[in-house]
Amino acid sequence: MSTLLGHYNYWIVIVLMMTGFYTVIARPNLVKKIIGLFIFQTSVFILFISMAKVEGGTAPIIEEGYSLYSNPLPHVLILTAIVVGLATTALGLALVVRIQEAYGTTNEDDIHIQDETD
């Protein structure tokens, strides 16, 4: 029980990741796909950030009286990954706008039908 609850951060990560992944695969709406993709990426951000936590550790600033610090490196890495994720989402949504202009729909199934009847 304690291992189950003690690793609750991983459970959150897994639930988020699978929610996002399912949305990407199962939803025909392209905007929803992009949202799912972003949730999927966000779960990995949480995975990184939660593993940087050192129990009893404080923010990594050198000061009298503190010797235990949380690991700042994963935070920095994720800062980069968030930028990448943001760029991906922005580009994805921009593509959806262009697809809407070209096909008149953002539904994947309708797009397939239009492509096949071309």
Partner: protein
């Protein structure tokens, strides 16, 4: 001074020039900028290869931060070879690009096109030179994001959906790699690849490391379009602008193969990857499936770009087949194949770009009797096709020869047989092109149809000539590939 900073310059020069291209509003100026940078990159790649060949692996601490704390750029023979492939294709495709891009893109997009091209170049070169696992992810995303944009610039509206599909799959792949890197960091506390290689064996036997291995393997397999994760590739190559098809077909998947080699051999080590995780046993069957299905599906395609795209799926299969053997000869064959295939596919897609420019279509039925009007372009396709099949005196023969020898050395008879059998499938689809262009009567008159312009023919034939040269005298290439492969396989066997 300049020479000692080459590893960083090779990435920084295209990165800094990319926004300049956007600012130079005139299409011609942006093109000139991209052309200059591509040639500078080629010069740097040649210098780096020379330096590595003479002095061995180069380690370059970025910003003079000592490894393993800072980011290290590490260039060994494999990295130098792959960056040379990228640089050659980049340098050859740029003179070609001017006419093709002018016709296929709107004027206002051309500056942005060259910006994205340079960013893509930056990302690909960065992946190859970096020795840091997280840095690799960042460069992977730089190259991927820019290639999504490049693909979406295609004329056909299906380019948009192709780019979207690639974006979704590519992001999932990259995120998988990120998860893997995170899990490795969790166990070892380091991101430097050489450092990881030293620390991973101690924690090899944990589920975390095995899961990390699985995640990065699947992630990279999406990037290199290994069967059955290749579904993004055919549409992306078919509907992208010609220049983008050339550049991506010749470089992007090859860099994916490079990442696979790095992870299997340098980071995780041959023992863990192949003996403990049995990745070779799995990947070899995927590679065989890729070779057979890719070639079979290619036979039934009427759009030549799509035909070559499926052929690319098959060729990736051959390359991975060599790697999956996990012997010095196998890996060396894989590297030789990688190099030659970049030249072959580059040349073939270039010839198609010429046809696209003059004819506006690459459907097989529109090409009947094209030999009469565009003899040099069609001859280039035939020469490239022969190389794709693996006819002696072409580069394709060299790569298939080494692959078959490597398979026989490991006494994998069925694999050698499959390589030869699928070459016959290649004969069939190449013959379909030859039949249509040379032996069919043209359906309708095409008044005013001329040969492709010289600025596009010359680069095409340059790649064909390189092809034939390697087919005759492959000594230098195989020597370098053997060195690279020996370093990989031995490095992993302490």
């Amino acid at each position: 001074m300049l020479l000692s900073n080459l590893p960083a310059l090779q990435v920084v020069v295209p990165l800094v020039s990319a926004p300049i291209c956007l600012l130079l509003r005139r299409p011609g100026h942006a093109w000139a900028c991209a052309l200059t940078v591509s040639w500078a990159v080629l010069a740097m790649a040649v210098l780096l290869l020379r330096q590595v060949a003479l002095e061995g692996t180069i380690s370059y601490p970025l910003g003079a931060w000592a490894t393993p704390w800072g980011i290290e750029y590490r260039i060994d023979m494999l990295a130098a070879l792959v960056s040379l492939v990228i640089a050659i294709i980049g340098a050859v495709v740029m003179p070609y690009a001017r006419r093709s891009v002018m016709q296929e893109l709107d004027d206002e997009h051309i500056g942005a096109f060259y910006t994205c091209y340079l960013l893509c170049l930056t990302g690909l070169l960065g992946i190859v030179v970096t020795g840091d696992a997280f840095n690799l992810f960042v460069f992977l995303e730089i190259s991927s994001l820019s290639s999504y944009v490049l693909i979406s610039l295609g004329r056909d509206r299906r380019a948009l959906t192709a780019a979207f599909q690639y974006l979704v799959m590519g992001t999932i792949g990259a995120t998988f790699i990120l998860i893997g890197v995170g899990l490795m960091y969790m166990m070892t506390g380091t991101l430097n690849m050489a450092d990881l290689a030293q620390r991973l064996p101690a924690v090899d036997d944990t589920r975390t490391v095995r899961v990390a291995f699985a995640f990065v393997t699947v992630g990279v397999s999406i990037k290199l379009a290994l069967f059955p994760l290749h579904i993004w590739l055919p549409n992306a190559y078919t509907y992208a602008p010609s220049v983008v098809s050339i550049f991506l077909a010749a470089t992007a998947t090859k860099v994916g193969v490079y990442v696979l080699l790095r992870l299997f051999f340098t980071v995780f080590g041959i023992q863990f990857s192949f003996d403990d995780m049995h990745v070779g046993d799995i990947v070899v069957w995927l590679a065989v499936a890729a070779v057979l299905t890719g070639s079979l599906v290619a036979i039934f395609q009427d759009n030549l770009k799509r035909m070559l795209a499926y052929s690319s799926v098959a060729q990736i299969g051959y390359i991975v087949l060599g790697i999956a053997l996990a012997t010095g000869a196998g890996v060396s064959a894989g590297i030789i194949y990688l190099f030659n295939h970049a030249l072959i596919k580059g040349a073939l897609f270039m010839a198609l770009g010429g046809i696209m420019l003059r004819l506006g279509s690459v459907e097989l039925r529109d090409l009947h009797g094209l030999l009469r009007q565009m003899p040099w372009t069609v001859a280039a396709i035939i020469a490239g096709g022969l190389s794709l099949i693996g006819v002696p005196l072409t580069a394709g023969f060299i790569s298939k020869w080494y692959l078959v020898v490597a398979a026989l050395e490991g006494s994998y008879w069925p694999l050698a047989f499959i390589v030869l059998a699928s070459s016959l499938l290649t004969v069939i689809y190449v013959w379909r092109i030859v039949e249509a262009t040379c032996f069919s009567a043209p359906g309708d008159e095409r008044p005013g149809l001329r040969e492709a312009p010289l600025s596009m023919l010359l680069p095409t034939w340059l790649l064909i000539a390189l092809n034939l040269y390697i087919g005759v005298d492959a000594g230098v290439l195989t020597g370098l590939a053997d060195t690279a492969a020996a370093a990989l396989v031995e490095e992993a066997l302490p």
